[in-house]
Assembly symmetry: C3
Homo-oligomer: 211 residues x 3
């Protein structure tokens, strides 16, 4: 399997996984089937859309290939009919989100490097791809965005993207194993953050005043 | 009148109508004249801007032709001086929004087909064009977005876009009458939804828990 | 110093200044260092990113040149370690925001004119560049957006952009001094608005009803 295929399948799985988190959020808000499809699609393809738009890779990926949208719609419909089987839907949402986060951090950075951007920018593109879809999901559904909660979140996408960029672009290691290692490290960090409630020290000086 | 002209006039009317809904929302929030112009412009050209950006049709339509922005500014100023004459401004907003929704669903799909995208993607582009401007209006003004309310809303844009795409692209019927029929069906569905409070069954299993 | 260099340095200073306002907001919300960098970067490069995307100048400016992102990260880290020295952080935020607003209004309009858009659209591009970053900062941090507060705000960006466009494109005056004058007028208006709580009359007819 070539690196292009690995990236493609990681990305497709990531889209499906993020779409399911969007549909789970829709189920928590008791929306109808159209709301499920809408939120699932926003979440699944939101990050990649922003990445494509700011790099000028337009028309964006899901316009060139309808498979992506079909994946989101399928995930939404599947979740609509099975979500009641999941005992703790918010926990499922958090863990699937962690999976998608780790996948998109790596694929976003890889796509950035393929476009020939600098290493720093490739890392940022990976982070944007990984975090934007979930941010839209949370803002539209009036949830506190995961990126603003105290547990380590963005840093996991940053870590995965950084390992991939440093490993392939700077150390010139073979791309497929580096992609796998980057994904695993990223997911492991997020899993630890969820499990042990890991967080960075916050700015404690004093809260804001209104003047 | 050619199909291009019909699309142009439907689109221009849709922009003006959506701009007025934005200005009515600004009047409900008691903003100043600059706020009226800002919200009216966001609402009027927001959906088409997103459509152009993701399809790569940049510079976006209102940069290539200043008529669109002038239409929005004119609608905002007109509404600023006449909104007090409308007894029930929220009702006016809802019905004008329904009109714009039906127009943009058809024109968005038509513009998508002209760009050569697949039928499924053309339907999605129509739906995005029709719903995005109103969503921005509601988010910026802290209103619950119409797309998240229980009544049938997005489905109306989906219906209009689908009729146009199936009629012209798949059945190869003449485009002008199909555009008109698609617009009328879309508006009729939304009108019924407003009038009879039509809604799809929501996901009832149980509300979300915080864990 | 040529006009291109003046625009570049105004823009770089504006990005740094806006990034600091984002980091100050993060300090008021007691975020961690990653939150500081994230909000600072959104605020610093948000307006220019939207300007580049809708005019089709992609890849956007900070992808072509990593200096912009490094500036944002540096501003965020600097603020993280010094914000506790500022007695009244919200006041600092408001005044730095005024500085950035005046800078970006002029540079946004100048970049628009360089792309060959019409004068009206150049003024709008300047206004978007100046206001969008701050709007994203406020929405993400759950602050009431400055653009929706009663004091004169957007109009200051409109004024700076208009003076620059009218002076250089219509009256054909030399660009460097016009840019400086436009910046000073814009900042002076915003400073007066903050100091004397200047505002336009709001729409007073009556507040909105729910029907």
């Amino acid at each position: 399997m070539t690196i292009t295929q690995i990236i493609y399948w990681l990305e497709l799985t990531g889209v499906a996984v993020f779409a399911v988190t969007g549909a789970l959020e829709a189920s928590r808000r008791q929306m109808d089937i159209v709301g499920f499809v809408l939120i699932a699609t926003f979440t699944g393809i939101g990050g990649g859309t922003v990445r494509d738009v700011i790099t000028g890779a337009t028309p964006v990926f899901w316009i060139r290939d309808p498979a992506w949208v079909i994946t989101c719609i399928g995930s939404a419909v599947f979740t609509y009919f099975t979500a009641h089987l999941v005992e703790r839907r918010y926990v499922a949402l958090i863990w699937l989100d962690a999976l998608g986060l780790a996948m998109f951090g790596v694929t976003g950075a890889a796509i950035g490097l393929n476009l020939g951007v600098s290493p720093l920018v490739a890392i940022i593109l990976g982070t944007i791809t990984a975090t934007f879809g979930g941010m839209v999901r949370d803002v539209v559904c009036n949830e506190i965005p995961l990126i603003l909660r105290p547990e380590i979140y963005i840093t996991c996408a940053l870590l995965g993207a950084s390992i991939y960029v440093i490993g392939t672009d700077i150390l010139s290691l073979p791309r497929a194993p580096v992609a796998l290692i980057a994904f695993l490290c990223s997911f492991a960090l997020r899993a630890s953050a969820i499990w042990f409630k890991l967080s960075f020290p916050v700015y404690r000086a004093r809260p804001g005043r209104e003047y």
